[in-house]
Amino acid sequence: MTELITLARPAPASTNGTAPTSIIEMRGVVRRYKMGSATVAAVDGIDLGVARGEFIALMGASGSGKSTLLNLLGGLDQPTAGTIVVAGLDLAQAGRSALVEHRRRHVGFVFQSFNLLPHRTALENVEVPLMLCGQPGPARRARARALLEQMGLSGRADHRPSELSGGEQQRVAIARALANQPPILLADEPTGNLDSTTGASVMALLRQLNADGITLVVVTHDPAVAAYADRIVHLRDGQITEITARTPAPAAAQEDRR
């Protein structure tokens, strides 16, 4: 039972006693798109490491490359140049099936518009990633129920997305993203479609998950959201302009997590 309600895999104790290695390692990442005859670099030479259990916010104006970076981390897209090693897998070199495995096991996606499947109930939506991994019905229903309970949505399990409020939908989406206990959660403007109160509660939830050990990468242009992060990575034109640490100091945050 305890295993069933585990929300995220705790960061494994490091084996050689040194500091935890980074779970995300980007070196010289470039992503160019062809726009007609012109080539646009959405991401243009990014070097960034993210420690296991860290909470990173990617900030920037639209077109700054922050969403492209998130998609690259999620294995939905591949870089034109450079290396991205996530949870030990080099996404730049990975084949199609390795990317599928990456999306199933390493990362969970949370979208701005929730992207719940409209014809499935909250419970069934949470079951989808488990189903895609081939888990048998009874086990995945139990797991999905436990996740919804953790999100405070036990009473809404059999409701369709259209019958849920925005905050409820986003919490279902977060439960879905956690279904396979990924070490990393990728959120693209998770509060963008929510009012400020609901947004704050969703951020509190994400913050709690991060405190429980999950690595969090959140794309946002809202400073209030970014304020929850350990580090804020500012992007412009596909390049990092500044990295700021959160106040109070990251050391305190490290304390929180233990």
């Binding site: 939905l76 099936s97 495995e101 996606f109 992207n115 499947l117 189903m131 895609l132």
Partner: protein, 421 residues
């Protein structure tokens, strides 16, 4: 995804679009209905024909002499075929000695153009003589002897077999029928020119299957010799046909070859059966062609529906891919949906085809009953193989129609799909 989840998800997607699914499957429905009805008609007719042929016996070899005018055995009135190589009594011995031959029958056509009467108890009755020499009569006439025995099949067979119906016409009640067996009678023959002759013989049996009467080969020979004034009839005309009975289909085929080697014409019912089966195969294929055309149109409809479904569900496909669905998962989902549409059409097509063939069968038998023709056997036969085949075929049509849309859905770029509104 497990196969079970793929099927459940695919069917769930179809359930969301019930009306469209049903409308799309109607094409398959019509195609399968047509094929099932037509093929079951083909199978029904084929079964009727082949059952009849098999009843006659496939181990039988028919031998007739080769004539200049072709293989005609009927013999027009007053004209003899004069075959180049008649089947003479000596040939009978050779044919009978062929390996595999168990028994031999020899026939002579009944005299044509003579006025025949039967004298029984001093009273004359018109004699309605049936030709024993036709294939159908040879094979069917043996059955249903109710009193006495059948005519001896060999060249020396003598006597008369009267039909039940003919005895009725003679005014003899059924109870006294059996007493006729063994009674000497006289067949009185008269030519159109008024020449007359009497041929004494015996009643050997009563048969319910005949309409008139049949005469033994030796008696028929005597009448022919007189009528054609040809004492050497057996040397110039010979027997026709001669029937060789063998123990197996293999023997029949070997004997048939040996007979041909001796310069006679041989035919077995197996050849006829092969021919019949070939014809029915062509007929069934041609009839199914109409259904195939409907299925072709149906498959285009299925492909169209599935392509529309991709556009509607582009975003959903993107979400599924982001959550870890492989291209194969998406491909299988769409293929299952298309196959299920085909199968659905197949199920209704088979049901509809069954109902339609029942109805047509009923109407056909109703019509036959009104025309006094009795064919109790069904005209439409729906075999388990046909049902299974139709269902599999319908499903395959759906699967094939779904291949292209499914491949397109599977290849969708997840990012583009997620951005799709």
């Amino acid at each position: 995804m497990t196969p079970r989840d793929i099927i459940a998800t695919g069917l769930g997607n179809l359930r969301r679009r019930k009306i469209r699914t049903v409308l799309t499957s109607i094409g398959v429905w019509v195609g399968i209905l047509t094929i099932v009805t037509m093929v079951s008609l083909g199978i029904g007719l084929q079964t009727q024909v082949t059952d009849t042929i098999k009843q006659w016996g496939l181990e039988t070899v028919f031998v007739i002499p080769v004539t200049a005018r072709g293989p005609e055995t009927g013999g027009a009135a007053g004209v003899l075929p004069h075959p180049a190589h008649p089947i003479r009594p000596a040939d009978l011995a050779t044919l009978g000695a062929l390996p595999g031959v168990q028994s031999i029958e020899a026939y002579i056509n009944i005299p044509q153009g003579l006025n025949l009467t039967l004298t029984l108890d001093g009273r004359d009755h018109p004699l309605d003589l049936e030709n024993r020499a036709s294939q159908a009569t040879i094979l069917e006439g043996k059955v249903d002897v109710t009193a006495g025995s059948a005519l001896a099949p060999g060249p020396d067979g003598r006597g008369l077999v009267l039909s039940h119906a003919y005895v009725r016409r003679l005014g003899i009640p059924a109870a006294q029928e059996a007493a006729l067996v063994g009674r000497p009678v006289v067949i009185h023959a008269e030519t159109p020119r008024g020449e007359r002759a009497d041929f004494p013989t015996t009643i050997v049996g009563i048969n319910t299957a005949l309409r008139g009467a049949q005469i033994g080969t030796a008696d028929a020979l005597a009448i022919q010799q007189w009528w054609f004034n040809a004492p050497d009839f057996l040397q110039t005309e010979g027997y026709s046909p001669v029937v060789l009975h063998t123990g197996s289909l293999t023997d029949a085929s070997l004997v048939s070859k040996a007979v041909t080697a001796q310069g006679f014409q041989a035919s077995t019912l197996q050849l006829l059966l092969d021919q019949v089966n070939k014809i029915f195969l062509i007929v069934e294929t041609a009839l199914s062609g109409i259904g195939l055309l409907a299925l072709l149109v149906a498959s285009i409809g299925i492909a169209n529906t599935m392509i529309m479904a991709i556009f509607e569900r582009t975003r959903e496909i993107g979400v599924l891919k982001a959550l870890g669905a492989s291209n194969g998962d998406i491909l299988k989902l769409f293929i299952v949906e298309a196959g299920a549409i085909g199968l659905l059409g197949g199920v209704f097509g088979v049901l509809g085809g069954w109902l339609l063939s029942r109805l047509l069968d009923w109407v056909a038998h109703l019509y036959l009953a009104s025309t006094q023709v009795s064919i109790p056997a069904p005209f439409f036969i729906l075999t388990p193989e046909l049902v299974a085949g139709a269902l599999v075929f319908a499903t395959v049509v759906g699967l094939l129609a779904g291949l292209y849309p499914a491949a397109r859905a599977a290849r969708l770029d997840p990012l583009a799909a997620l951005r799709h509104e």
